[in-house]
């Protein structure tokens, strides 16, 4: 357990050294700039759009970090040959993989939390500066606690994507890993289309394959409650719990598969 924690702490330190914080600064600047511009352009939909923008930006920035850092977790150590030094210490390959994953997972969760806090600060400004009558047009309060649900599920989605990226990077090239992770992300958001492929194609076999892929791949669309939260549509605790549980099961499967593949990998 201690070995995993040491590896994870190393990843966290690396992520700070690799200037992941630049993404946060970009996010903060984007949200602040948008908040000044949007009031003029959006016919009074500024708060809705700030929320949409904040949630979308945190998701995209997190996605980039999850994919690119997720893939480099193992490949960089192998390419630099620094993995030999690490594995010569009392760290098993499984501990190495899990530690790497947890390190990036903590980084991502902290990133999302900071972005959520930055968004709340901007929204607090809108809450304070908007006259009472204009607030009636808002579907939900500017400082809406329900936004945390959307941020939480964004974080869960990023954990899944990181696990996918890590798993793919244990056996394929970085380029292919990026392409395949992006493919998994896209398929994960096409869940409904895959499930109802029989409405589009005539081939029964293809429809069955589509339905099969739907059930096998992680359903990332279920983790997307951004729209619901912004429109004050309730997101139940049951939805939160089961969506998270299902996603974490995928993470567990992918991490197990990663350790198995990496254990058999010839590092010479």
């Amino acid at each position: 357990m201690r070995a995993i924690a040491i590896v994870a702490a190393g990843v966290f330190r690396d992520s700070i050294r690799e200037r992941i914080a630049y993404g946060l600064v970009f996010f903060a600047l984007l949200i602040m700039a948008a908040s000044f511009l949007l009031a003029q352009l959006t016919a009074g939909q500024d708060v809705k759009i700030i929320k949409d923008l904040g949630l979308a930006a945190s998701s995209v920035i997190g996605l980039f970090i999850a994919i690119f850092f997720g893939i480099s977790l193992v490949t960089k150590e192998v390419e630099r040959r620094s993995i030999y030094g690490l594995l010569s210490k009392p760290v098993t390959r499984s501990q190495f993989v899990i530690g790497k994953y947890l390190g990036l997972a903590v980084t991502l969760v902290i990133n999302v939390a900071v972005m959520a806090a930055a968004l709340y600060v901007v929204l607090a400004y809108f809450e304070w500066s908007t006259p009472g009558k204009a607030k009636e047009a808002w579907e939900a309060a500017a400082i809406d606690p329900a936004l945390i649900k959307a941020f939480a599920l964004i974080a869960v989605e990023l954990l899944v994507i990181t696990a996918v990226a890590l798993f793919l990077s244990t056996f394929s090239s970085p380029f292919l890993s990026v392409a395949l992770t992006v493919a998994v992300y896209i398929i994960g958001h096409f869940g409904d289309d895959l499930k109802h492929l029989d409405n589009i194609v005539e081939s029964k076999a293809l429809a069955t394959v589509g339905r099969g892929v739907y059930y096998v791949m992680p359903n990332l669309a279920r983790l997307d409650v951004k729209s619901a939260v912004v429109h004050a549509v309730p997101v139940s605790a049951t939805h939160m719990f089961f969506s998270t549980l299902s996603a974490l099961l995928y993470v567990a499967v992918l991490l197990t598969a990663s350790t198995l593949v990496f254990a058999r990998r010839d590092l010479k």
Binding site: T42, G44, A134, E136, H189
Partner: protein, 298 residues
């Protein structure tokens, strides 16, 4: 890399940068990229756009909404009298497909679509289609059938159809209790201006957004202008009976003692009078222009 090589590289870099910028400046206004249309929406198929957004549909809906608002404003402010708002509905359609709960896109979008030509698209059919889409997405919203009734009544001049929409609105949960009496008035006294006044007043005072309230205030002024025009039309007829011709301007009517001063509409802009037909109307430069046409609308 040696010092002299590096210096040459820097000189080359500066020279190339100056050349690139200089070429840009020289070409400015001389070589114009042929544009298909500056305002074509990037993707016009709502279904395709929804698939392309990969979970980021609401932020893209916001982008399309901003484009719709900019498109409407740009067209409205453009010079010339022949204004086409043909892309307004596709933009709103994509917006509401990407974010089916985008309330203001339905409500304000319907107003922009239905307003008379030159200040709006003047297409009540598209306005109703947009609101019907909203009703399918959010069946409990009483505002959408109310808006549809409003549009049918005001621009379509069809009180019976409007009353049916109002009754639909009234049956939705949370609908205010003033809707039923207004619908009843319409059914019994079809075309009664008081009904229009009541509806515009509700929008002006209770609309959930300033844009809607502004539309309500403008509607109220248009109702007042219609009433004033009826009075002025009678005065012009009186002038013709006395002078044997229509007045060439309001000064003729004032000089004849039929008016004390040149009449202005509720926005403060002088009314127009056609010397050939004697028709009184709001001026094209008035913010109230155009008033709904007599007879049925589109």
């Amino acid at each position: 890399m040696g010092t002299s090589t590096r210096a040459r590289a820097w000189i080359a870099l500066v020279a190339l940068a100056l050349g690139a910028v200089g070429t840009q400046v020289a070409l400015e206004g001389r070589v114009v990229t042929p544009a298909v249309s500056a305002t074509v929406p990037w993707v016009q198929s709502p279904t395709l756009m929804r698939r392309l957004t990969l979970g980021f549909n609401t932020i893209w809906a916001d982008v399309y909404w901003i484009r719709a608002v900019q498109y409407f404003g740009g067209t409205r402010l453009a010079k010339g009298t022949q204004k086409s708002y043909e892309l307004l509905y596709p933009l709103l359609d994509v917006t509401t497909t990407l974010d089916p709960r985008f309330n203001i896109a339905y409500r304000l979008g319907a107003i922009l679509l239905s307003e008379g030509s030159s200040t709006g698209a003047g297409n009540t059919g598209q306005a109703i289609t947009l609101l019907e889409k909203g009703m399918r997405e959010m069946p409990d919203k009483w505002q959408y059938p109310l808006d549809a009734g409003f549009i049918v009544y005001w621009w379509g001049r069809d009180p019976a159809a409007a009353a049916q929409w109002f009754l639909k609105a009234e049956s939705r949960p949370g609908a205010p209790n003033w809707i039923r009496p207004v619908a009843a008035t319409m059914l019994t006294q079809g075309g009664e201006r008081a009904s229009a006044r009541a509806m515009w007043y509700e929008l002006a005072t209770s609309g959930e957004h300033e844009w809607l309230r502004r539309a309500g205030r403008r509607g109220l002024m248009q109702v007042d202008a219609e009433a004033q025009i009826d009075v002025l039309q009678a005065i012009v007829r009186e002038f013709r009976a006395r002078a044997g011709r229509f007045p060439t301007s309001w000064n003729d009517v004032v000089a004849a003692g039929l008016l004390r001063q040149v009449p202005a509409d509720p926005s403060g802009v002088e009314y127009g009078v056609d010397p050939m037909s004697g028709t009184v109307d709001v001026s094209v430069s008035s913010p109230l222009y155009p008033l709904r046409q007599k007879g049925s609308g589109r």
